[in-house]
């Protein structure tokens, strides 16, 4: 008994992590343009985003304690691994010998890198870290990008049998249509909304609005998802600088605090789920983030959610609690999620229109929310945005990272 008692108390102590962690703020952001950037390499892109973020924060390289970088599959996209050291080198930090960590969780690699950076500062181990996300996807041609993305699926039980991302999301969409009466028009309206937002975003891959008919008549990828229901193959990078919140005002007048972070996993394969119309990883990651932030879904003023396909935005806003399960399709009809709606979703254009360089996406979402909370989002600015949420999904929901941010 004498031995067990201290162990129990340690257990309880660890569960109450919020008591021992310190607050963390974002003091700088940097993003590259997203798109088919034929003249920019993997290393150029991340160095550009990183230097923009450092410049925005006003810190010098000497003040950096660590570097985190999220990327999904540099090995297959550009034949390069050992990405942490490479990024440190190409950012000019090789001779400072700062630790560099590469983080991978399929399409949620970026969001997870931010979460790891957050932990390192919140724990007190580091004061200032830079977190980047990057992917260079257009160096491969034809089906290679699709095949590489499919490495985020279950190779033995899904990809091996020919399943692809569009195919699996199409199954989710058909089931959602069957269960809840969601229509192809509602799916298409998500693309129309996000393209309208993307048209206002100078960093977006597709800076153009598209009419509903064009989405509905786009070549069929996997029923009911046409080509314009799918996010594109993109190059791009994003970076944020994280700092202990009590030191943030030394660097910037507009720090943005990370109020909450949540992460969850689920079965790697879609067929292992209890319900394919819900991503439990989103539900649990969201729950943890809301609890830590001490807010409810209704308190969120602006959200960037993982709309790799139009159906993904519908289930995301349901699983995050913005609308009831099954009402995600109706939300777009009622214009709840448009720029001037009750809860604007994907003001950046989302993955659909802004582009989806997979490793960069999670970090770029955070950068967009920071721009929104600072009031620096230009034509796509959401009015009076105080609290923002970023939702980053790995593959078909096997992992999810949610962050909640607040201007301080």
């Amino acid at each position: 008994m004498l031995i067990i008692q201290p162990m129990l108390s340690i257990g309880i102590f660890y569960m109450r992590t919020d008591k021992m962690m310190r607050d963390v703020a974002i003091i700088g952001i940097g993003v590259t343009k997203f798109g088919e950037l034929w003249d920019k390499s993997f290393r150029n892109l991340i160095a550009e985003a990183g230097s923009k973020a450092l410049f925005d924060s006003g810190i010098s390289g000497k003040e950096l304690d660590a570097l985190y970088v999220g990327s999904m599959s540099t090995g297959r996209f550009v034949g390069q691994e050992h990405v942490g050291a490479l990024v440190a080198d190409w950012s000019g930090f090789a001779h400072m010998h700062i630790p560099a960590i590469r983080v991978e969780s399929a399409c949620a690699s970026g969001g997870l890198a931010v979460r790891q950076g957050y932990f390192s500062v919140a724990s007190g181990m580091n004061d200032v870290v830079v977190v980047g996300g990057v992917e260079k996807m257009t160096d491969v041609v034809g089906d290679e990008a699709t095949d590489t993305l499919a490495t985020g699926l279950d190779q033995e039980w899904e990809a091996f049998f020919g399943a692809t991302f569009p195919g699996l999301y199409a199954m989710i969409a058909t089931r959602h249509m069957y269960e809840y009466g969601t229509t192809r028009e509602q799916l298409a309206k998500i693309a129309v909304k996000n393209h309208a937002n993307g048209a206002l975003n100078p960093y977006a891959q597709f800076k153009r609005a598209i009419p509903l008919e064009k989405v509905l008549n786009s070549p069929m990828t996997a029923y009911p998802l046409g080509m314009l229901d799918c996010s594109p193959v993109s190059d791009g990078a994003a970076a944020v600088v994280l700092c202990a919140a009590d030191k943030a005002k030394n660097y910037t007048d507009k720090p943005v605090k990370i109020l909450g972070t949540g992460q969850a996993s689920d079965t790697l394969s879609l067929h292992g789920r209890r319900d394919i119309c819900t991503f439990d990883s989103t539900v649990y990651a969201g729950k943890k983030a809301y609890e830590q932030a001490k807010i409810k879904p209704d308190d969120v003023d602006v959200a960037e959610v993982h709309d790799c396909f139009t159906i993904a935005e519908i289930i995301a806003i349901e699983d995050l609690g913005f609308v009831k399960k099954g009402e995600g399709g109706k939300a777009i009809d009622e214009k709840i999620t448009t720029l001037d709606g009750k809860i604007p979703v994907n003001p950046s254009g989302g993955l659909k229109a802004k582009g989806h360089p997979v490793g960069a996406t999670g970090v770029a979402q955070i950068a967009e929310i920071v721009m929104q909370l600072r009031g620096e989002a230009g034509d796509r600015q959401v009015k009076d945005a105080k609290i923002g949420l970023a939702h980053n999904v790995g593959a078909v929901g096997a992992s999810c990272v949610v962050h909640i941010l607040e201007a301080i």
Binding site: E36, W38, D39, T138, V141, G142, N217, P219, M220
Partner: protein
């Protein structure tokens, strides 16, 4: 030194056609999306007994039929193609022999994707200008390949054109030519492979558009001209959309490109593409007309020409050989299975 230019020209397009919609049906694609997306209604198909040698000979003979030139006065034959029948053994020797220009003759086969023919024009210009030869024949001709099911299958077609370049009785003076070349791997076919590979959308902005835009602008800068100074403009035509878009980007009107835009009804004849466009313009051009021609070859490069039609065109018996419009009208459709048999698609690469 006398002006160098085109003395005569000839064209050839195989008679067989396949509709884009038939190809789309074979692959379970929506024909309207394909036709609208690529801007190609139908394309020419070579018969089993037609290849780059026969097409080149037809075009060269057509060019000679419009002149009284003694074939023995032709000092050079250059054939540009990416589908020469032999990997080793020239097409140019076959053409030279067939038109009676051998044996005191400079010959070489050229390959530069779709611009090998315009590169041959430049070579002939240099030989003629330096008086190394009296006449040179530059030919661009192809029976281009496309893997079954590839997007290229809707475009890759067959045809060619020949231009006799000389100093005397020039019907079209070539005032200036310039080129723009980089190492840009947008489209290629490895040694021994049956079908080419391509970089998908990479073939657009950094390849076709960058090279044509840069080269066209350089040419207009060097001769101090503007798009409105030209009666006709011809661009390389890999599909029906790219030439229309690049013309618009440069400031040319749809009327200027209409006469030379053949891809929608015959497909992409590769090395023959911009040259057949130019032949079509010469079919109707009048003295004083100014013509702007820009080719593009993957890999990548572009040749541009600033051309003025002379009074001599009135003396050229254009009716002595088929006009491009006549070659286009003379057609016979094949279905996809016949096409597959004729194009040898039924065997593994």
């Amino acid at each position: 030194m006398k002006d160098v230019g085109i003395v005569s020209y000839g064209a050839y397009i195989p008679r067989l056609r396949i509709k884009s919609s038939d190809i789309a049906h074979a692959w379970g694609k929506n024909p309207e999306t394909i036709t609208g997306g690529l801007g190609i209604i139908e394309k020419s198909v070579p018969s089993p007994d037609q290849d780059v040698a026969t097409i080149s000979v037809e075009a060269a003979r057509a060019a000679l039929a419009r002149t009284n030139i003694d074939p023995q006065d032709i000092g050079a034959v250059y054939v540009g193609s990416e589908s020469h029948p032999y990997a080793v053994k020239p097409t140019g020797t076959i053409v030279g022999e067939a038109i009676g220009a051998t044996p005191i003759l400079k010959v070489a086969d050229y390959e530069f994707a779709c611009k090998a023919g315009t590169a041959a024009i430049q070579t002939c210009m240099a030989l003629v200008k330096s008086e190394m030869v009296r006449y040179g024949i530059a030919i661009g001709s192809d029976t281009s390949q496309a893997a079954p099911g590839d997007a290229l299958e809707y475009a890759a077609s067959a045809g060619g054109a020949a231009f006799i370049i000389g100093r005397e009785n020039v019907i079209a003076t070539i005032n200036e030519t310039c080129s723009f070349t980089t190492d840009t791997p947008d489209f290629w076919r490895r040694e021994g492979r049956k079908y080419p590979a391509h970089g998908g959308r990479f073939t657009g902005a950094p390849a076709y558009f960058r090279h044509i835009m840069s080269n066209a602008q350089n040419l207009m800068k060097s001769v101090n001209s503007k798009p409105e100074d030209y009666n006709f403009a011809v661009f390389h035509q890999p599909n029906g959309k790219f030439p229309v878009r690049v013309a618009k980007m440069l400031g040319f009107t749809p009327d200027q490109i209409k006469q030379g835009l053949l891809c929608p009804i015959i497909g992409n004849t590769y090395s023959g593409s911009s040259m057949l466009g130019l032949a079509s313009v010469l079919d109707v051009a009048e003295p004083g007309n100014r013509v702007f021609v820009t080719s593009y070859g993957s890999g990548a490069g572009s040749d541009a020409f600033d051309i003025t039609i002379t009074d001599n065109i009135k003396e050229l018996p254009r009716k002595n050989a088929p006009l491009v419009s006549e070659l286009i009208e003379k057609k016979q459709y094949v279905d996809y299975s016949t096409y597959a048999k004729y194009r040898d698609l039924l065997y593994e690469d």
